[in-house]
Symmetry: C2
Amino acid sequence: MTSSSRLYVIKIGGQVIDDEAACADFLQQFAALPGLKVLVHGGGKLATRIGERLGITSQYVQGRRITDEATLQLVTMVYGGLINRQLVARLQALGCMAIGLTGADMDLMRATKRPVKEVDYGWVGDLMAEDVRVEAFVQLFDAGQVPVLAPLTHDGQGHLLNTNADTIASCVAVALSAHYRVQLVFCFDQKGVLRRPEDPDSVIPLIRPADVPALMEEGALRDGILPKLDNAFAACRAGVEQVLIGPAHALSALSASSSGQSFGTIIRL
Amino acid sequence: MTSSSRLYVIKIGGQVIDDEAACADFLQQFAALPGLKVLVHGGGKLATRIGERLGITSQYVQGRRITDEATLQLVTMVYGGLINRQLVARLQALGCMAIGLTGADMDLMRATKRPVKEVDYGWVGDLMAEDVRVEAFVQLFDAGQVPVLAPLTHDGQGHLLNTNADTIASCVAVALSAHYRVQLVFCFDQKGVLRRPEDPDSVIPLIRPADVPALMEEGALRDGILPKLDNAFAACRAGVEQVLIGPAHALSALSASSSGQSFGTIIRL
């Protein structure tokens, strides 16, 4: 039990992974970040590109990829293999004791295959915070490891499951908040949540639930940001200290200022 | 320090991975094997098949694959991703606390990129027993983990390296013999080393260095078995208790008989 330690759960998406310069810069800042940390990565366009070359074209229903057998193999190769293993090798070169994991390793995240209703999403795993095996993460941190999580879970019956990286980041953050003071960080292609979407510098430094009605009235919070805010507040209500949304290239601001004010938008209760 | 514990380092090759029934059977026996254990896996034909579909055709020089950038990506995807991650998920379903790793994870195996002489082998790593970070393996065993190693190491400078799975198994076995009583097991498509290659039941139960001249005289030890024996004796001289060569489907014999006599051929000093 180390309830006083701060821990960062940091999620990067495809826009960082696809851009070599941005990725190198991010990894340097991530490696330099002191203290306990977890990296959760998404996929980027690589899976689509490799899938095309393999003749695997993903089907989408309501904006969600259907994970058939071939697609599961593709994401296991690209997310669980190529991207995850390369991130780990690069972090090791930067002196960061990284370890690359899926939810199957150490039984870290045992999800539920999404039930078939109107749509059969295939090999997709729905994860809940209570599915995260906290004691395994504690073991890793106590051994000085930095987990690098691919967006894959397992069903406990021998199958990997494709799981949204944002969901993994949120669930891991909530689960670990029982032991640590967790900050959940979503790296993002803007400087933060913008007051005026057309002005990239109009970052809202702090959003609390009471601020939402006025921000909506102003016309801020467009472009699908509202569900992100709802998820962030839910994570805070479940124990996460605060959620930060900001640009990958400014990650070092997290350690520079303990209030995190120079990194994007802070979301808290 | 747990110098009295027995530890198995077990290597499976493509012939097990490519055959679904053989693989399922092997994993069941591996999961049931009591005590400390490490699984090292090779590749199988899957990498070649996926490579063909991706238009990556490997070049060979003197029977060794040249690992250019595209081939390294391919083996990282297939060995480090698809095969390794699936083996772990399947072992977890069998109650085995598996964790899938390359040499980059936890800095477990930092190899040397093979120097360019007459041939440039590309991204190939030469591993030595002293390159194995023993304390990281001890941490894993103390935490109840079962490492599943893909045939990939790293150079400590951000690159993964393609490394022969037999070499990884031998180096890990030798390195860990400082802490454990290590048995190194090579699973193989025959019942053991055969006295008469045409008779699949003519298994030689035990080979010691003094037996080699007579066996050669008889005409046994053909088909490239001599280098395997040399490597096995070298491993024993470096601290491994014994080397076993036998069929994957008979793995359970290891725990049934502590002398291991019903599993293939024992090689010791």
